[in-house]
Symmetry: none
Subunit: 249 residues, 2 copies
DNA sequence: CGAAATTTGTCCGTATGTATG
DNA sequence: ACATACATACGGACAAATTTC
């Protein structure tokens, strides 16, 4: 019926988000059991397959866990990006970009000088497009992160005319070049927010933060994108889940 | 050793393993496309759903990636997280168990009270063995990290009589129980080092640091070990590679 | 102790949507 | 315009683990 061809996210993701929300709202408190799959099927009026896909998502990031004969348990409300950033695979970066928006404030052409070149791990002198701005969660007014990006001149075009970014930038780079980003090198360090950024984020200077840098490399090892995020530490945790190959049985 | 020989693993896992093997054997070399799902269906004589479950597994750990209209690409030779503990740089946190030693200073029996229980994600009242000490790189005199460990009483024996730890504790737990640690939940936050720890590390109080917590869970979801590391931020960075291609330093 | 009910896990079949070439 | 290939979504059936009676 309502054939709305609007580019909506898949059903199972919509349901995953609704479940997350209900967990955050303590409708499904941590430590309790989720309604059974059958109940969710009738509640959401979708197939069991779709429900299981949604639950699968949330199991993967540690929000839920399930056991045969028992049910599905709420393990944490950790999927709120405001309090926990999960990172383990490219996919998590997609999720992150989809749930937030990056509003650029400045853009310029720069040449990497020695210090920043060393930080980026490249030879000095290469040209980049630099862009920086605030990242907001969709539907919120308060920025949660200061975001800087260096984009290699060979792919700088993808940012032309873009004021608000709603997708993962590296995915746009992939589409543009037709080549896949082969690896992403990520670093985390604790920092004090400097005055300039503190002002943007409306925080006192010197606040604790995580500084996350990512180097996006092509399959030939060329640095195509370098991104820096400054994440206030009182509101953020970086979280990963390392899981062994063989699940329970 | 072979305790449960007659337990059959699910079809999709068997297929996932076969695919992994073929990738390791260069039958499906890195960088090439896997046979299409339809071809795999006829090759393995299972439903497409099962093939997709197998591929799903391998996409999750970065072995495969897929794009609509194109195909499924072999990204790397499958590695579970155990192998990521090896072959990293000296400053990578995953190196700890191999390159460093943990010298315990205190050990005691504790009962998890509400605050710490909430932090650990368990019910209050459970008993643990608490141990804490300094971690040194092998051959160095200066400690680089304050390390605290909570060990569930069911496995507390592994620490008895141990003053210096040279192996990964969770490996010892696995050997002791014969059960594999199924997942590790890791969190990173920026902190100021408190006076007590600063003294141990010979640093001024208030120094920037990374606080890393790890929750080691059995396949049943039971918390067996909880570890906290406080890492001075001026000397350390947390590095990871997402969706790793070959890490050719 | 055993049988039944409950709940998640696995597996199959089918159809349609969407991005790519 | 068309074929290809993965993504999403529906349906049903039985297996395996657990709790309940």
């Amino acid at each position: 019926m309502s054939t709305h061809p609007d580019r909506v996210s898949p059903l199972y993701l919509q349901i995953a988000h609704k479940l997350e929300q209900r967990i955050r709202d303590d409708i499904y408190p941590v430590g309790t059991l989720l309604p059974t799959e059958a109940e969710l099927v009738t509640a959401f009026q979708v197939s069991r397959h779709t429900i299981r896909q949604a639950i699968e998502q949330l199991k993967r990031n540690g929000t839920l866990s399930a056991r045969k004969g028992i049910g599905t348990k709420v393990e944490s409300r950790g999927t709120d990006w405001r309090t926990q950033f999960r990172g383990q695979s490219r996919h998590d970066l997609f999720d992150f970009s989809r749930d937030s928006e990056l509003h650029f404030q400045t853009k310029s052409e720069v040449t990497a000088r020695s210090e920043i070149a060393a930080e980026m791990g490249i030879q000095p002198g290469r040209k980049f497009t630099y862009a920086a701005g605030l990242r907001y969660f969709k539907g919120e007014d308060i920025p949660f992160c200061w975001n800087e990006v260096y984009l290699d001149e060979s792919v700088a075009e993808v940012l032309q005319g873009v004021d608000v970014l709603r997708k993962a930038l590296f995915h746009m780079v992939e589409s543009y070049t037709g080549e896949r980003i082969a690896s992403i090198h990520q670093e985390l360090t604790p920092v004090h927010i400097d005055e300039h950024i503190a002002q943007k984020l409306d925080l006192p200077a010197g606040t604790l933060a995580l500084r996350m840098t990512r180097r996006y490399l092509s399959s030939r090892g060329r640095l195509l994108e370098y991104a820096i995020q400054t994440l206030p530490g009182d509101r953020f945790r970086y979280r990963t889940i390392l899981s062994a190959g063989e699940p329970k049985t």
